[in-house]
């Protein structure tokens, strides 16, 4: 009876499993719970994706990110708060530990409220630099919304962002059509040079960031924070443990009034819808590990020689063996796993390396399964013995990291695996010598045992007369 009950509970628990790959407990930190109403559509979208949302103010006592060493929430969303600090429960170190424990953070900043020092400290640790002035605003006199920001030019209109380089998967601009993203009253950041930082949305070339309180008249040479595409409006950092931190420069772009609003760009089409709802869904989906998550299902390698056994994943290979390698990859798309297709102009590569790669080969798509794609190649092991690794190291912007390493020894040629001497044409004189020695020896033995003397008498007599 007890086992039946516990079995039923287990079944029930797995039935309500999270849609996101890393859990569905979402904490929203905001100033007062009344703010919820201005973001109601955004939260409704999140709840539709089966997130369990807890709303807390920073100073509340019941707010803890960790309990007994484990995270109490899987994701945290920060909306702008007017307090200078975030309280003792959200210190920079706690947030840092949260990211180290694979928690995801989505920060929404605003030009109207100063960013709390804990968040500025966390971001500077990640090499995302916010302007040192506590008040800063991004404006663009060329790409603004003429219906709502005729004077102040602080509502930027941007086309949904295409990938910056060839080979990056396009998550954020698919299906946008002519819609534009509205970026009202936002803060921009400068990203460091690390490879873990990627901007989702960059400011247009003519945009710049200034301090409305001190630089209201003109922007002076020395005080300019940054301008143009150096400004990152939506920045991301994916840590090596795949935890994701996203900084959305304008919290107002997540508000209801900018979802499906009508905007007009200077010199643009008369009225265009905003792409904000879909864009916020994709940005939050990326941050909370619903898209861009990759998984290796299995790795298989075997010997591909004629007449040799080809059992999977043998313990050892030999120099100059033909080896076949297959890896199966899946990608998570919102609520289920699908096969992962490598983006165009990009390749997933296998490195067969000992200290440095001897082979770096592009893996080709071999077959599709329902929720996986197999990538495959065949190569020849180098003529160097040693301990080698099959390494697939696939790290790309906006995709979780794949590092699969299988170690295998590669032995010398065994003494009986070399080509025989009779197939080596240069050895033929030596083999002829061998054969002729044998024949000569046998002839000599026969002669010695069975021959009789010849002209023995004649010789003797000749000698005697001398």
């Amino acid at each position: 009876m007890r086992t039946l009950l516990s079995f039923l509970l287990l079944a029930l628990a797995s039935a309500v499993a999270a849609i996101s790959t890393s859990g569905n407990r979402l904490l929203v930190v905001l100033d007062d719970v009344a703010d919820k109403a201005t973001y109601s559509k955004f939260f409704a979208d999140l709840e539709e994706r089966e997130f369990k949302i807890t709303y807390e103010t920073p100073k509340s006592d019941s707010l803890t990110l960790f309990n007994l060493g484990e995270r109490t929430y899987d994701h945290v969303l920060f909306l702008p708060v007017r307090t200078k600090g975030l309280g003792p429960n959200l210190t920079p170190k706690t947030l840092h530990d949260f990211v180290n424990a694979k928690g995801n953070i989505l920060l929404a900043l605003s030009a109207n409220t100063t960013t709390p020092t804990s968040l500025v400290a966390l971001l500077s640790e990640l090499d995302i630099t916010l302007p040192t002035d506590r008040n800063s605003l991004v404006v663009d006199h060329f790409n603004y919304d003429i219906t709502s920001a005729t004077d102040k030019h602080d509502v930027l209109l941007l086309p949904p962002p295409k990938p910056i380089r060839a080979g990056i998967k396009d998550f954020f601009s698919e299906g946008a059509g002519t819609k534009l993203i509205a970026f009202p009253r936002g803060v921009s950041a400068i990203l460091g040079n690390g490879q873990l930082l990627n901007p989702i949305l960059r400011a247009p070339r003519t945009a710049y960031s200034y301090n409305p309180k001190e630089q209201a008249e003109a922007v002076n040479g020395d005080d300019l924070f940054a301008a143009g595409q150096q400004l990152s409006l939506v920045s991301t950092m994916q840590a090596r443990n795949n935890a994701r931190v996203t900084v959305v420069g304008s919290a107002e772009m997540l508000q209801d009034k900018w979802f499906d609003a009508s905007v007009t760009k200077l010199d643009g089409k008369p009225v265009v819808q905003t792409f904000n709802r879909e864009f916020s869904k994709r940005v939050s989906g990326w941050t909370f590990q619903e898209i861009g998550v990759l998984k290796v299902n299995w790795v298989e390698h075997h010997l591909e020689e004629e007449g040799a056994p080809n059992d999977s994943n043998p313990e050892m290979y030999r120099v100059k063996n033909n080896v076949s390698y297959t890896i199966s990859l899946s990608e998570f798309a919102w609520d289920h796993w699908i096969g992962f297709n490598v983006p165009e102009h990009d390749e997933i590569q296998l490195e067969f390396s000992m200290l440095s790669p001897f082979h770096r080969l592009n893996l080709k798509e071999e077959s599709h399964r329902l929720a996986a794609v197999h990538y495959h190649t065949v190569f020849t092991t180098p003529d160097q013995h040693g301990i080698f690794n099959f390494m697939v190291n696939y790290k790309r912007p906006f995709l979780s990291h794949i590092e699969e390493k299988n170690t295998v020894p590669v032995r010398h040629m065994a003494h009986d695996e070399w080509p025989r001497s009779y197939v080596i044409s240069g050895a033929w004189p030596w083999i002829a010598g061998l054969g002729s020695t044998v024949v000569g020896f046998l002839g000599f033995v026969a002669l010695w045992m069975y021959s009789g003397p010849v002209d023995a008498g004649k010789k003797v007599t000749v000698k005697k007369t001398q």
């Binding site: 006199h141 005729t150 080969l361």
Partner: protein
């Protein structure tokens, strides 16, 4: 309601078409470090410079212009000279210092430029961006090109591109060349030369008087021993042949042992028979 909105939009568009920013009295001068103005050229919004301006390592480029809104000199909020590198698209802004009268000036030397600009193979493109709040249309026009002249005595600054994740070039291991044999003709020639020594040997033996005269006598005296002895010697060569072609050491050792024992046992008798012929004076 929609009609009034449309009229408002139209009016806003019309108003914007009327007022816009522009710049006038623009000139660029390149001065060497001494302070003397070497080259001074004028440009305007409609007439950018055609020849690129050279910027040496100790030179300073000075851009002067007067910003105007609707023809009246005014101080804009944004007055930048943006310099763009053509290879990578990297752009850097250089804000002009603007006075209330609208006169703006900026000085740029090689040390102000990012290191990627100094290493660029093509000339840099400079544009003037002037804009401000309100309805006046902002202006962004390319005005001149800058050619970086590097000092031949000082080495170029080093720039390492930051690591970015992406596919790397393919590597295929280059195998050591297989061991090669000389042409088969040469091998055949020498093999035949070696093999020819065997008949040469037998023929020379024959000429020296080789014969098998005592074979019948020996076989008559001790047939089994002689046959077994000679046969075991041939068998031993056969064992070596098997070792050469297919068997391994552990397979030939017992067989060689057996054959060896047969050789010893039969050899005593056979060679004893030969000794008897020698003692009888027949050899």
């Amino acid at each position: 309601m929609r009609l009034t909105q449309a009229i408002l939009l139209l009016a806003a568009g019309a108003a914007q078409a009327a007022s816009s920013w522009s710049f006038d009295d623009a000139s660029i001068s390149v001065a060497a470090k001494k302070g003397s103005d070497a080259i001074k050229e004028k440009f305007s919004q409609k007439a950018p410079l055609t020849k690129p301006v050279g910027l040496g390592s100790t030179d300073t480029v000075k851009v002067i212009l007067t910003a105007k809104e609707d023809g009246k000199a005014k101080r804009p909020h944004q007055a930048f000279v943006t310099i763009k590198e053509q290879e990578t698209g990297l752009e850097a802004p250089f804000p002009l210092t603007v006075k209330d009268t609208g006169k703006a000036v900026v000085q740029i030397s090689q040390k102000d430029l990012p290191v990627q600009f100094l290493l660029s193979p093509k000339p840099l493109k400079a544009s003037v961006v002037i804009g401000s709040f309100g309805e006046a249309r902002a202006v962004n026009t390319p005005v001149f090109d800058i050619e970086i002249q590097t000092d031949p005595n000082t080495p170029l600054p080093k720039y390492e591109a930051p690591i970015r994740y992406g596919k790397k070039p393919e590597i295929h291991h280059i195998f050591r060349p297989d061991p090669q044999s000389p042409p088969k003709v040469i091998s055949l020639f020498f093999a035949l030369a070696v093999a020819a020594t065997v008949p040469a040997l037998f023929i020379s033996w024959l000429l020296l008087g080789a014969n098998l005269n005592h074979l019948t006598k020996a076989l008559g005296a001790a047939p089994l021993s002689h046959l077994t002895f000679f046969g075991s010697i041939v068998a031993m060569e056969g064992v070596f042949f098997m070792y050469y072609t297919s068997w391994n050491l552990f397979q030939i050792l017992p067989v060689a042992g057996v054959v060896g024992i047969v050789t010893v046992l039969s050899g005593t008798k056979a060679l004893g028979e030969v000794q008897s012929r020698r003692l009888a004076g027949e050899r």
